[in-house]
């Protein structure tokens, strides 16, 4: 993650400037008011290389502040070879338009366009990327967009011809890839897609070196990238920016695929990549990490930047998921990384690198070559922008034709071999066949269940309907883990599967149609969709799609179980029975062990009803005219980040919420206060209403549905308390404070002088 060193500018502390440094790129983030307290020349000290100025949080700028700002810009122009302005607030765009030379030779990469929804009476800002919206800017027209809260059109609340005066005159900006990478990797800043499209530069000599630059997302070309890899392969990830969840999944599939054919080494992994892709699965097999970056901030001088870690050198520290000590490049002070616990936890998955010195040197050499102009890299090996085909040479001689034909033949043969190999590997890797080596005897419940599945020709993972069995007043639920690399993990997955199934069984047992409508129907379709995706993938024998669908299923089940544990007052750990298998899977030339577990949970009918009762009995918020339900854990299928809240079951005719809520809405907070359940809703809202009666205003809650989150509420009129009429007379003195006292009507002493 990007780290910041806040530095207060000026004694009043109205402006903070956070500095983020990475090599030759520095970002200064201005937060607050730029006025006479801002010292432009002082702020420019230490700037060098490429400067990125983040102006999203500039609240106000005074005319004298402009003077200092212009001094700042003049000073940094002397020392920075490029200046980029990002996320300029409307206030800043005003200054670009109004003040000569406000930005110097710097370029605006993005800005916030002010938008307004008259219906909600709300001002908002929307980020506009200059390169993506170049035409709109030139045409001086930003389109209306639907309001996030009410859906009515929200309009661009500025006069376009004046707002775009400066921007329309700015030439198209092509972001330097290094800057784009810095923005994405260090600032978590969304750079335009074009700038972040993944690019792979490759050098093939005694080993293979690939330098990736761009974002890793669902479009990550894992198969294309893995194609033809063999021997030792070093992947340089210093140019990788964002890695989203789907990208991490794709990366894992790539790493597993590639590591069958080659020995894979990763170098210079960026912090964002480490967090997402240093999982046990992604590093399984022969994947070794040579080096990576850890976020660092110096306590002494406030320097902020990522520090490179040589895995081999620090392995003894890293294996305990702790940070090595770093030396600040600015002042020499020592200190650890400021990486989060989640980040550090991933380091435990690293294995000790065994790369030879020669390979490390080759990687350095290849990287240096690739960082030189493209022609040099092409001479050495070849450069392969992802998704682009190599172009033919300008002159074609006989030798070239022969060479091309031979190459085609070789490529065809190799391609056929790879295709067959992949087809074969797909089954081996991702299906769960393999050889069962465990000697454990199958328990009777498992035998009976297995038999039933076999008769119905169902896969273990798809036996949703058969996973629940009733025996007297006992309810049995079976959960299955799929193959996991650790036995503990398999057990956890099986338990989660069973608990999720129990939750869904309880929901299906509720007969009240209104409850089913506002709770069950909200998540039922999503649950089915995820299960169907897995069924389809299994049916098609698509190993990677299966792996992906399973992961989605796991994630959702975990959500549901977490919600159950967080919300349920009556949950007791059910009785568990386990059957486990150990598998030996063949992957290419290597073998690996996997575990799968079936777990049967047993709860009594009485316990189940007790568990359920908390979620089906509506609580009436009398003063608000709303009936509410507790957050049912099954809803975590559609509300991924939520574990609590109050579901609207019904609304009375006179309810003040009648126009803004509908049954099924999930209320999660009122003002800043979270609504942890229906009981809390009444209390929290009533307190808020009482408070607003003293000054007037709107009681507002965040209401969620699976598709949107909106602010809902109603106006509360100020209830005036009778006060004595007080009229100031001339000479009675001035006001007691700006806006702090009660504002009576016509109380100025000299307005009618």
């Amino acid at each position: 993650m990007a780290t910041e060193a806040p530095v207060e500018a000026g004694t009043a502390g109205k402006l903070k400037i956070a500095k983020i440094v990475e090599g030759e790129i520095m970002c200064l983030r201005f937060i607050g008011t730029i006025d006479e307290d801002f010292d432009g020349k002082a702020a420019a000290e230490g700037v060098k290389g490429t400067l990125i100025v983040d102006l999203a949080e500039v609240r106000r700028i005074s005319s004298f502040g402009i003077r200092e700002w212009v001094d700042f810009v003049k000073a940094v122009e002397q020392v920075a070879h490029a200046i980029y302005y990002i996320e300029c607030s409307p206030k800043i765009i005003d200054q670009f338009n109004m003040v000569a030379n406000f930005g110097g030779r710097g370029k605006i990469l993005s800005f916030y366009a002010p938008y307004r929804c008259d219906y909600c009476d709300d001002d908002r800002r929307r980020l506009v990327q200059v390169d993506e919206s170049h035409e709109l800017i030139k045409n001086m027209s930003l389109p209306d967009v639907p309001c996030d809260s009410c859906g009515n059109p929200e309009y661009f609340d500025e006069a376009p011809e004046s707002f775009f005066t400066y921007l329309a005159g700015q030439e198209a900006v092509e972001t330097d890839p290094a800057v784009a990478n810095f923005l994405a990797a260090k600032l978590d800043y969304r750079v335009s897609d074009a700038a972040r499209r993944l690019r792979a530069d490759k050098v093939v000599e005694e080993a293979t070196f690939i330098r990736l630059a761009g974002d890793i997302d669902i479009n990550f070309p894992r198969e294309k990238l893995a194609e033809g890899l063999e021997g030792e392969v070093v992947l340089d990830l210093s140019g990788v920016g964002r890695v989203d969840d789907e990208g991490a999944l794709e990366w894992t599939a790539f790493a597993q695929l590639a590591s069958q054919e080659c020995k894979l080494y990763l170098r210079d992994c960026q912090p964002g990549f480490v967090e997402k892709a240093f999982t046990a699965d992604a590093l399984a097999g022969q994947v070794q990490v040579l080096s990576f970056f850890m976020p660092f901030r110096c306590e002494s001088c406030s320097y902020s930047g990522a520090q490179r870690v040589d895995t081999l050198e620090h392995f003894d520290v890293l294996k305990f998921a702790t940070s090595p000590e770093f030396t600040c490049p600015e002042c020499g002070a020592k200190g650890p990384s400021i990486a989060s616990d989640e980040y550090l936890a991933t380091l435990g998955n690293l294995i000790k690198p065994t790369a030879s010195k020669g390979l490390v040197e080759f990687a350095e050499r290849a990287n240096d070559q690739l960082l030189k102009p493209a022609s040099a890299a092409q001479q050495m090996g070849y450069v392969m922008p992802m998704g682009e085909m190599p172009t033919a040479g300008r002159t074609i001689g006989l030798a070239t034709v022969v060479a091309v034909l031979v190459s085609l033949a070789v490529v065809g043969v190799v391609g056929w071999w790879i295709y067959n190999r992949l087809e074969r590997e797909k089954d081996i890797i991702y299906d769960e066949g393999g050889r069962v080596v465990s000697k454990e005897k199958k328990p009777p419940w498992f035998v009976a269940w297995e038999k039933e599945l076999s008769e119905k020709k169902l896969d273990f993972g798809l036996a949703d309907d058969l996973a629940v069995q009733k025996e007297g007043d006992q309810i049995h639920v079976i959960g299955y883990s799929f193959a996991a690399s650790e036995r503990d993990e398999a057990e956890e997955r099986a338990r989660e599967a069973a608990l999720e199934r129990l939750v869904h069984y309880l929901a299906e047992s509720v007969k009240d149609p209104q409850w089913r409508k506002v709770v069950l129907e909200q998540y039922f379709a999503e649950r089915k969709k995820v299960q169907d995706a897995l069924a389809t993938a299994l049916q098609k024998k698509d190993g990677l799609a299966t792996s992906r669908a399973r992961r989605v299923l796991w994630d959702r089940r975990i959500n549901v179980v977490n919600a159950l544990l967080a919300t349920s007052k009556a949950y007791k750990k059910p009785a568990e029975e386990v059957y486990f298998q150990q598998l030996e899977l063949q992957q290419g030339s290597s073998r690996m062990t996997r575990y799968r577990i079936w777990m049967r949970l047993t709860v009594s009918e009485a316990e189940a009803q007790k568990l359920l009762s908390q979620f089906i009995e509506p609580v009436k918020a009398e003063s608000q005219g709303v009936s509410l339900l507790d957050f049912f854990p099954g809803l975590a299928w559609v509300y991924e980040d939520l574990k609590q809240g109050a579901i609207v079951m019904g609304l009375e005719e006179e309810s003040p919420w009648k126009n803004s809520l509908t049954p099924g809405n999930l209320l999660v907070s009122c003002g800043e206060i979270p609504i942890r359940g229906p009981d809390r809703f009444n209390t929290v809202v009533e307190e808020r209403v009482e408070f607003l009666k003293t000054r007037g205003g709107k009681v507002e809650c965040i209401s969620k549905s699976p598709r949107e989150s909106r602010q809902v509420g109603y106006a509360v009129a100020k209830v005036e308390e009778p006060k004595p009429v007080y009229i100031r007379r001339p000479g009675a003195g001035s006001g007691s404070g700006a806006g702090t006292g009660a504002s009576n009507v016509n109380t100025w002493d000299d307005l009618t002088q």
Binding site: E36, V99, R116, F163, G737, V745, L751
Partner: protein, 321 residues
């Protein structure tokens, strides 16, 4: 402070000449100005206006499309005082006003078919005709609310700026307007606290160092007023020196609008007037030489920023001769 009069008042003007080519607008303006009690002579034809000029004192009201006629009339009749309204940009009129001391009131109006704001028009003409200085409350509807504070120190200034923002928020003005008023309050207070104070020999006391934390003497204190009637937001800052020259207003704004050229010769950035102009629908400058300078900004709350940017601004200057 009391007892002084404006130019027109001294001259005892009792006649208003109106030149407006839009018949409907003209009719409305005549009705409004009839309330002043003055003799109102209205025409749609510039050529007829010339015939009405008899060399006597009068207020000439006209639209900016007839600015050439107005210029000619002012040149040939030194006792004329002009009031010009415009539906186009106010910017060109500022340069004109800078070179024509008889034009001190420019009224922005919403469109060619709209009359100037009736309350503003009447307020301006009343002042010109009578020389009276009505209180700021007359710019708002009866029932307004607001606060007044005297500022002596830099710390008080900063607290007051935040107070203005809080007041705007309390009045339920949009967030951007609240921030704009905070910025405006800061700008106006900086002018009143750092630019205005002079010592006995007339030298500026604090202008050289805007970064200095200062403590004004009681006689130097700036007074800020902020008020609203729910439709308009008003902010006014007064200093007890009365040294703001007329030229600094019209030429200061015009210079800023020309391309944001800064003027750092007086210690500041020279953009203060531009700030005031850009942030208010109506800016009123009252200068009593050697006694007080009061700058008042009025903003119409219902105007969104998109409309506001295109809205022609009103600028009025009232100063002792």
């Amino acid at each position: 402070m009391l007892g002084w009069q404006f130019v027109a008042g001294i001259m005892g003007i009792s006649r208003i000449l109106i030149l407006e080519r839009n018949k409907l607008v003209l009719r409305k303006v005549v009705r409004i100005l009839a309330c002043t009690g003055a003799e109102v002579i209205a025409t749609e034809e510039p050529s007829e206006l010339i015939r009405c000029l008899d060399g006597g004192p009068a207020v000439l009201c006209a639209d900016s499309v007839d600015i050439a006629t107005v210029a000619g009339a002012l040149q040939s009749n030194p006792s004329l005082v002009a009031v010009v309204w415009t539906a186009a940009k106010t910017d060109p009129l500022l340069a004109f006003a800078d070179s024509h001391p008889q034009l001190n009131c420019i009224l922005g109006r919403a469109g060619k078919d709209a009359a100037p704001r009736e309350w503003e028009l009447l307020w301006i003409l009343r002042r010109l005709l009578t020389g009276e200085t009505p209180g700021l409350g007359t710019l708002l509807a009866w029932g307004y609310t607001g606060f007044k504070e005297q500022i002596f120190t830099s710390e008080q200034r900063d607290a007051c700026v935040e107070g203005v923002v809080r007041f705007c928020e309390k009045m339920n003005t949009p967030g951007r307007v609240a921030e704009m008023f905070g910025e405006l309050a800061h700008e106006m207070l900086m002018n009143a606290m750092y630019d205005a104070p002079v010592d006995a020999s007339g030298r500026r006391k604090y202008a050289a160092d805007r970064k200095a934390r200062i403590v004004l003497e009681p006689r130097e204190a700036a007074t800020i007023r902020c008020a609203s009637d729910g439709m308009r937001m008003l902010i006014s800052v007064m200093d007890p020196f009365g040294l703001l020259p007329r030229g600094a207003i019209f030429s200061g704004i015009a210079r800023g609008l020309k391309g944001g050229e800064m003027d750092t010769s007086h210690g500041g950035a020279g953009l203060g007037m531009l700030y005031i102009y850009r942030s208010s629908a109506i800016a009123i400058f009252d200068v009593v030489k050697g006694q007080s300078t009061q700058v008042t900004c009025v903003f119409e709350i219902d105007t969104n920023q998109r409309e506001f940017r295109n809205l022609p601004r009103s600028v009025h200057y009232f100063g002792t001769p």
